[in-house]
């Protein structure tokens, strides 16, 4: 059951000897598949779709954990958080892309110039996601891992998923339990056509990288 560890307000109320009538809440239209969090509905549902396997439960739990860890990380200074990300090996341009700002903005933050609370949270959420991926799935060089294509011949990387606001797919890929093709399809149903290329990059005779037709 997805929870952030807190009880809902209905359970936390101060109680005396006399019972206080709770309001009768209206019936709810219930999705069958979607994981409405306990933040919605205000009434603990008595019926819930249970997951086919433990992985699904973990996946749901991951987002609650991510939120909590983001809150933890957001207590640090933004230059400190950026330095941690730099020490993991991330490129500034990739961090800028993930946060949704320009590289110069990142450079300003590094020098101590202020970032909005929203951007501070975004940086914190990057660090928190790195923590989770490393700790839960044993991925050691996380920056390197984010730059490697999900599949040979298709230039989509975990960085691209992340920048496309599909951290759910990043977590899935990190878990190793979801097929790369399934992830690619979830990200872009047209990926087979979009990333098809008759060309390849190779090292030419002068040592520089060149482009040629495949199969040559």
């Amino acid at each position: 059951m997805a929870t952030d560890g807190r009880q809902g307000f209905l359970e936390q109320a101060t109680v005396g000897a006399e019972p206080i009538e709770s309001p009768v809440l209206p019936s709810e239209t219930k999705p069958a598949v979607s994981a409405l969090t306990e933040q919605v509905g205000f009434l603990r549902s008595r019926a819930r779709v249970i997951h086919d396997d433990v992985d699904s439960l973990h996946r749901e739990r991951a987002f609650v954990d991510w939120n909590n860890q983001t809150n933890q990380r957001a207590r640090a200074s933004i230059p400190g958080m950026l330095n941690e990300l730099a020490d993991l090996g991330f490129a500034w341009r990739d961090l800028a892309r993930l946060v949704g700002v320009s590289v110069p903005a990142i450079q300003k933050w590094r020098r101590g110039q202020g970032a909005t609370g929203e951007n501070r949270r975004k940086v914190a959420s990057l660090l928190a996601a790195c923590d989770m991926i490393s700790q839960s799935h044993g991925i050691q060089e996380i920056a390197s891992w984010t730059e490697m294509p999900l599949r040979d011949g298709v230039s989509v990387t975990p960085m691209d998923l992340w920048a496309g606001e599909r951290i759910d797919l990043v977590f899935d890929f990190a878990s190793g339990h979801v097929d790369a093709e399934e992830i690619l399809t979830a990200f872009d149903p047209d990926w087979r056509e979009r990333y098809r290329s008759e060309f390849e990059v190779f090292e030419a005779g002068d040592g520089q990288l060149s482009i040629r037709m495949k199969g040559q």
């Binding site: 993991l88 991330f90 390197s144 990387t157 990059v201 990288l209």
Partner: protein
């Protein structure tokens, strides 16, 4: 799809932003000159006359330097002119002789705000004509790939996917990023000296008989080079006197 020219992706509010790494006051002098850099007030030689124009470097990313530090004596550039915003769908179906540069100068509201590079107006310029003080924009990696794709298509009518260009341009772009970062950290010495220091370091063996520069060709090795570089810079700074 891979046979079409592409356009910048992203939400409309940020799509044009994604073309650029830096514009206007964001552009820093210590970044090496690379493909896609835009310079104003550049002296170009036309037929029988000298003119001053705003230009963009269209020399291939692997080609601008003879020795890794010094630019070639002459570089290929294309002229920029004011141009209305070209809708994204039209990037695919037309304007093949141009590279649109919408919101190039976001601080103005006049017609100069949006521009385009005209591939039919190429020039060779002396390297000295590209003064770092007059650089007004640097393209993002995605912007450089789009530029190259359109430039090559203009010349040969061959369409190469942007993702393929990325495999070719990203090592050079990464190198430029690292040199910029090195120079910024080494503001205590002259920029040319810092850049030379960075290039020398990149050409050292990074492990296993492969130079760090060569390691940049492999996406999974780049982060290791970044980590090493940042550590090296910290050591250099802590060992500097004063």
């Amino acid at each position: 799809m891979p046979h079409d020219l592409e356009y910048p992706s992203g939400a409309a509010g940020s799509r044009w932003d994604g073309l650029y790494r830096a514009r206007g006051a964001e552009v820093v002098c210590h970044r090496p000159i690379v493909t896609g850099d835009v310079f104003s007030k550049v002296t170009v030689q036309s037929i029988g006359e000298t003119k001053t124009k705003t230009v963009i470097v269209i020399q291939h990313p692997c080609a601008p330097r003879a020795d890794g530090i010094n630019l070639h004596r002459r570089l290929l550039v294309a002229e920029l002119r004011s141009h209305s915003v070209i809708p994204v769908q039209d990037w695919i179906t037309g304007h093949y002789a141009k590279m649109p540069l919408p919101d190039l100068i976001p601080t103005v509201t006049s017609g100069k705000r949006h521009q385009a590079a005209f591939f039919d107006e190429p020039y060779l310029v002396e390297r000295g004509a590209l003064e770092l003080d007059s650089r007004i924009a640097c393209l993002s990696l995605n912007g450089v790939n789009l530029l190259l794709r359109r430039w090559v298509h203009h010349n040969s009518r061959v369409v190469v996917p942007t993702s393929t260009y990325d495999g070719q341009t990203s090592p050079s772009y990464e190198e430029a990023d690292l040199i910029e970062e090195w120079c910024e950290a080494r503001m205590d010495i002259e920029v040319r000296q810092a850049a030379a220091e960075a290039v020398a370091w990149l050409r050292e063996d990074g492990g296993g008989g492969v130079t760090r520069q060569q390691m940049l060709r492999e996406p999974q090795s780049r982060s290791a080079v970044r980590v090493q570089m940042r550590s090296t810079i910290r050591t250099l700074r802590s060992s500097d006197p004063g």
